[in-house]
């Protein structure tokens, strides 16, 4: 049975360049079918089905991306899209969502999710969310979810786990010792061997009232700004004065009522093209096609390549291995899978030499 106070907030303000040329300034990663057949944001919403009805799903995004959101999730009511006049990182975004949710339901509980992660299976995801909801409801706590690391990743923030406080359903609940920003390789190896650190998934569950209280305590300018908005101040004026802060450092590190639920299911923030071969199984040729409608991959003597293309496009590979080949818009990218992180260097170059290709 659905909890009638349960809301979901999907944060879709990202503007990453790591998926250039598929992702562009005006179409970031969350609007691309990178992880499956649907845009990532649509897959995020689909993952909530049976848990939160579409009427209680809010999406926070940039003003310029409202139409993209509505195209990606056609059933989403227009009034559930919260358009930020400026990008101010996650703390103001969460403040905006808390303000709007409380306006609709003073008893609301929020599941806050990034729009561009890959999670499976859905059943385990939903069951840990339900456990998180139980925890947030009983304890008035701010609940985070931590992924058990299987390698010393340096691209994620970590959560240092404190003592166990209780359990809900199949989930143990722990207090949080510390939030740690992206570590060095050496630190990450220490975290992995200690067994006491989890990757910070960026997903949260809390009562809207609880996060509002925490904001009021640690970043009071945010609730104050939305009160001004409520009294008639224009949103863009309100936003222009807000600090650009992540919720992790702005609130979670400072608050005393933070908890973490370790989660065991498959999770990826899909940080670069190099993450895609794991998400898309190889075809009979041993390559990984990520194609849209009407697309075709034709290969001769090629293995381990990721081929991404838009509708009605063919990619032909002869005698190559472990390459990333991306065709999107007016651009073509070719690089070895182990150089995917250097796409940002191409983006930097285009900033100077060919902005219109960004």
């Amino acid at each position: 049975m659905m909890n009638p106070h349960l809301y979901c907030v999907i944060m879709a303000g990202g503007s990453g360049t790591r998926f250039w040329p598929a992702s562009r300034r005006d179409r970031p990663k969350q609007f691309l079918p990178i992880s499956g057949r649907l845009p990532m944001i649509a897959e995020t919403q689909a993952r909530l089905e049976g848990l939160v009805p579409i009427e209680r799903v809010l999406v926070v995004t940039a003003e310029s991306q409202v139409d993209l959101v509505l195209q990606a999730i056609p059933t989403l009511p227009r009034k559930n899209v919260l358009a930020e006049p400026a990008a101010r990182n996650t703390a103001p975004c969460i403040g905006f969502a808390a303000f709007e949710t409380l306006r609709r339901d003073r008893e609301a509980i929020q599941v806050v999710l990034p729009s561009d992660h890959v999670i499976a299976p859905v059943e385990e995801f939903q069951s840990t969310i339900e456990d998180g909801v139980a925890e947030a409801q009983c304890g008035e706590t701010l609940v985070t979810f931590g992924i058990r690391p299987d390698h010393p990743a340096t691209g994620y923030g970590y959560i240092e786990v404190g003592p166990r406080t209780c359990h809900h359903g199949g989930s143990e609940v722990f207090s949080v010792q510390a939030f740690v920003e992206k570590p060095s390789r050496k630190e990450a190896e220490g975290f992995l061997s200690s067994g006491n650190f989890l990757w910070n998934s960026g997903m949260f569950v809390w009562k809207a009232k609880a996060i509002e209280n925490a904001l009021r305590e640690h970043l009071p300018e945010i609730p104050v700004a939305f009160e001004r908005y409520s009294s008639g101040a224009p949103l863009d004026e309100v936003y222009s004065n807000l600090p650009a802060l992540p919720i992790d450092t702005g609130v979670m590190e400072r608050a005393s009522n933070v908890r973490v639920l370790p989660i065991e299911y498959s999770w990826s923030d899909v940080g670069s093209w190099a993450a895609l071969p794991e998400l898309h199984p190889a075809d009979e040729s041993g390559n990984h096609p990520v194609l849209s409608e009407g697309g075709l991959l034709v290969t001769e003597d090629s293995r381990g390549c990721l081929a991404y293309a838009e509708e009605d496009e063919v990619i032909a590979l002869i005698g190559v291995e472990n390459l990333i080949v991306v065709r999107a818009g007016n651009a073509t990218l070719v690089c070895p899978r182990n150089r995917a992180q250097d796409v940002r260097r191409i983006v930097d170059r285009l900033e100077r030499e060919g902005k219109h290709f960004l």
Copy 2:
């Protein structure tokens, strides 16, 4: 001073697949800017400037490609485009051109050129053509041009040179011992070391009357067919009965009045993508961009790559070497430079799996 009887026939009937995906069924290689900024056929015409005025340039092409010819050479009179209703190799094509040229000028001398070769410098090309014209005019001979081989190529036909017969301008003229089809590697090595074999360039000079006589002697069905056309028979009916034969085996091998002029300038039939890096110098990054208006190549740690793209396209390469990367139409090709000949295998696959990409 221009010879008022000198005509040029550009043969543009080719439909090669070796430049897929840039070349397509409806846009073969000669209509692509592969060797320079202009389509190859336009560069072929430009190479005649000062030697043959556009009013005396005839282009023989497929009916479906008449518009492409006129787009590529906008100054060409429509009546100078001879549209073949069917592809019948070079002998009928040359018969058609001889028929049409003689209709205009009984004293015509023809320079017959493929539309898709690269030749430089223009001055040397024109001076050997003038020498060939002198030979054809004095001797009533069928003149071919042979390139001195610098490696044992197996992709060209060869001409075995006979005794020297005379000279014109800076050119020696030789009789021809034999025409040899594409040889094996071993044979080609023998040809190279003997010093007595030249590559068959596929370029000819002759009096229109001389080639008509030779056709009448060796392939009489061809002049007979064009006489029927002249008497009112429809061209497509006439063509459907013609043999599909190259002029080399159909006439040149059998005729006794064939001569060859060795030429020393730079010549290439540009047989595959692998030929392009030689024609397009490397940029400061060490890669070979072959881009149209508005195009851009951006590279990081990449060398020796050929990047071909259409207008307003960017190609980005990271950490790759000696690759061919082609973006054209709805298709992207990636292969090492030494695998370019295998593009035909992709084309074969598409014949079965994705004809609409051909």
